[in-house]
Symmetry: C3
Subunit: 383 residues, 3 copies
């Protein structure tokens, strides 16, 4: 697929500008205003052929460093500005502020620019346009074992099992070797990669993306203890209910509720190898990075960001818009939006030995300071 | 399924009491002693119809907060006592002590109660009775590829593979897409969810529950190093041997022994996404929460509890009845029962920056305190 | 299979020595020099039958403690030296230094010894010889769904799917229920255990071992954020490219690159349940233990060792030969080879409460020390 810069700004907005010898730096090109467009002189990109900026064709998105002619790149982080000098991209998405500060440094930039306040978001939209999800090819593979109901437009892969009472919506794609339990509901447009397991009665919303190896609806970790120390299983009879537009990374596991349901809100994004315990509720548009564990009955608000390998203990509540940084263990409820941290710094092994050994003696250290204060005060009084 | 309170106490014990206007608070109802039973007046539960307490029928278990008429709930943690005032449960399991302290606060409670010293354990038993595991439907799915021996009463799901020499016991259920290696033994009554892999020669005991995505018997991480830095694989020729009544959570992995076996004792409960290294031994009735890693050749005693995301280093020993709290890294053997911790607290990001930066300088801080002590002592001597 | 000690040293080198009554301790036996060999008198091993040392036959490798007659064991760690007195092994691999120090302590050792500077590496080679990987049985199982190209010598298991354009090399073995995406390349001699998922376009080198439940090529965790807080997916269009002789542990996940590729170098060894983010590069012969997370765009050098449950943040670089110890969070680039640590010690729960609570007040503690220094200095000046 190839798109002209004109098509891109026509659909996605932004200002298209050329940075050329012969054209005013930052000269604005209105959508549909091709006649007035400055001619791009793109010395290093191989398009110094007088093509109007609006007609430049984009076939791929690429990072500044590796972009080549025909590529659209983006500048969203000022620390990559040095790469702008060398990029071979045909066009770069950036903020107006970045463009004007660059324009003052260079007499000419070897690319066209699309100016927008949110370059990374704009880039995401172009990238989705150029690399759409693969088509869903309607049909049920001959090797699949389907008892439930499947929409005509759905694609069911090889060696899939779909249990009794399950409902698979329109345009759903289910990859090879998935196992879909009894009475599971998968709503329109959702896609499951291969080797996903969905236990009975769970519900997956619309346009979700579930990656390979994900397990949805396994039993929560609930046991009562006998006097002997033996464990008696608590039946886990709740469900997992997943909203719309949720993405779940590879090998992530989400336990069904013990009695109530485990609930994953609309727009939630879960990275790989996350463990979500039973009865957890996660609010809309919260994003959780890889290797995080969320223990049973934790309630996480909307629009939270949980960093990688953070651990959220059970039976606590996180407010909306809480940010937990990488490797932090959250042991009590957080009632206020904001950023929270608890990880330890790393050192060379020798420095670590010298410094971290004192962690075993912080209380004695505090005692020594208190004693010093008292002795000093006594002396000061005397003096 | 529905059970009368009388049936429940007849099988599981406990004292059935009514808390009603018109009946003495805490009046004891013997099993089979229905004639003498106080009439329950359950205003808020919709059963204020004069039904004898023993005849009240229970169809579900439910938490105090969401329970409705026909539900049996439980009070095991005093912090949920406030919910007792509002619950719509038909009956609540609680300790005699909790009942009597509640009775003094309220002239009447809107539910019947079953009194037992271990309410949560009692609740687990009722829940198992009301929600038994699904029936095993004997038979081998036509799509399964079975070379080993399978008991007539076992259920083998779609697209399962069972290797040469494997023995699948009576009443075993194996979910879709499981792969069972050569000479694997799975004893009577065990259940494997879909997408489980059991490598060759491993042994699974009786009445185990293995959740989806579990891998049993993968190679341990054993390599010798050449002078060049290249790694030479140590063949992993031990097995994994799993006892009876073991439950293993989704996507947990257990490596086979290098030479000896990896051994998981009877009654062990493993949550999701746990990694057990080669040659590990875990004692009877130990429970391990999600995201824990146990490195190679660690030996964990009986009746231990390991909190989520804890990490147990290799080649060490934990005594029986050791409790390791969430997020703790165990770096040496623990020879005495008790609770052990090592996780860092979390703070607002600003406080964390201010406080945790000192971790790099604890040794200098200790030096400063020592210097202060010496200077102060010198002054005290002089004075 | 059984090997004589003579066959072993003939192929793998080392010095074969007997430690017997009647033979000089440490007497060297040259390869092929059987005539001159001391007669072994192996009282405890059941081979005290006058067999020449070179003819002793080895059928298994085993640890010193559990070895029996016919077993070859090894001593690579001096702390296991006490076990030498009791071992029933027919022969033990050890360093010349260990042998001579043992020889001085004992008038006779009840085993033959192979002397080599790297006993563990030698042991690995013998173990590989005695326990080779199972034969690859050429052929495609009738239940497999194969669209791509498969070499005649490859073995494709039951219920495998292989997508359009995929190329499966010579002597490749693919376990049951694996799903191989479109255009995937798996080079000669690689082996995939059951339930592995390889997404489209990924490349696996020669002689790799991929364990069960591994996911290769899932989407990286890349989203741009709208003003509302909603996330817009960044298409992940790079690949995963894996070198030769790579081993990947059970349920490990490796995300495909966003635009560039994720690259795993030759000889890299990854343990179980590791998460590798998009665009990560890992250098040759680096080994990573279980439960590690490597966030997106991290670059890890060659011959690094990353301890279990360590976490490497994104967009940073680790030099060659960096060692990160267990449980360490790496938050910035490491430019120099060496060992780095950052984990917290563990304590009894009571000691932990007393000591770790001060972590919230380290800054105040530093302030108190500074104030003490100033007050003391003021007093010292006065005095």
């Amino acid at each position: 697929m190839s798109l002209s810069l004109n098509e891109i700004v026509a659909r996605l907005g932004g200002e298209l500008v050329g940075a050329t010898v012969g054209a005013a730096v930052g000269e604005k090109v209105g959508v549909g205003d091709t006649a007035a467009v400055a001619t791009a002189t793109m010395g290093t990109t191989g398009q110094a052929d007088g093509t109007a900026i609006t007609d430049i064709r984009i076939t791929h998105v690429a990072p500044l460093e590796t972009a080549d002619s025909g590529d659209l790149s983006f500048l969203s982080n000022p620390k990559y500005r040095a790469q702008m000098q060398r990029t071979r991209a045909s066009a770069v998405i950036m903020s107006p502020a970045a463009f004007h500060s660059l324009a003052q440094l260079n007499s000419a930039m070897p690319f066209a620019a699309i100016l927008t306040d949110q370059p990374y978001l704009y880039y995401a939209r172009v990238a989705q346009w150029l690399s759409p999800l693969p088509d869903v090819i309607p049909g049920i593979h001959a090797s699949a074992v389907v008892v439930g109901q499947v929409a005509d437009s759905a694609e069911i892969g090889a060696h899939v099992s779909i249990g009794c009472g399950a409902q698979i919506g329109a345009d759903v794609a289910i990859g090879a070797n998935c196992s879909i339990g009894e009475n599971v509901v998968i709503a329109d447009g959702s896609r499951l990669a291969p080797n996903v397991t969905v236990y009975a009665h769970c519900v997956i919303g619309k346009r979700c993306i579930i990656h390979a190896g994900v397990v949805i609806g396994s039993d929560g970790f609930g046991f009562a203890r006998e006097a002997t120390g033996a464990w008696v299983k608590i039946p886990q009879i709740g469900r997992v209910v997943i909203g719309d537009e949720v993405e779940i990374g590879a090998n992530t596991t989400i336990d069904r509720g013990a009695l109530d349901d485990t609930i994953i809100g609309d727009g939630v994004k879960l990275d790989n190898q996350i463990q979500i315990g039973h009865n957890v509720k996660i609010g809309k548009d919260t994003a959780i990075a890889g290797c995080v564990g969320v223990a049973g009955s934790a309630v996480i608000g909307a629009r939270c960001s949980i960093g990688g390998a953070a651990m959220i203990q059970g039976h606590l509540t996180l407010a909306d818009e809480v940010v937990v940084t990488t490797g932090t263990l959250v042991t009590k409820s957080i009632t206020k939006a904001g950023t929270y941290s608890g990880s330890s710094p790393f050192l060379t092994h020798g420095e670590w030995l010298r410094n971290f050994s004192h962690l075993r003696h912080l209380d004695a250290m505090a005692d020594k300071i208190r004693a010093l204060e008292q002795r000093l005060q006594a002396m000061e009084k005397k003096a």
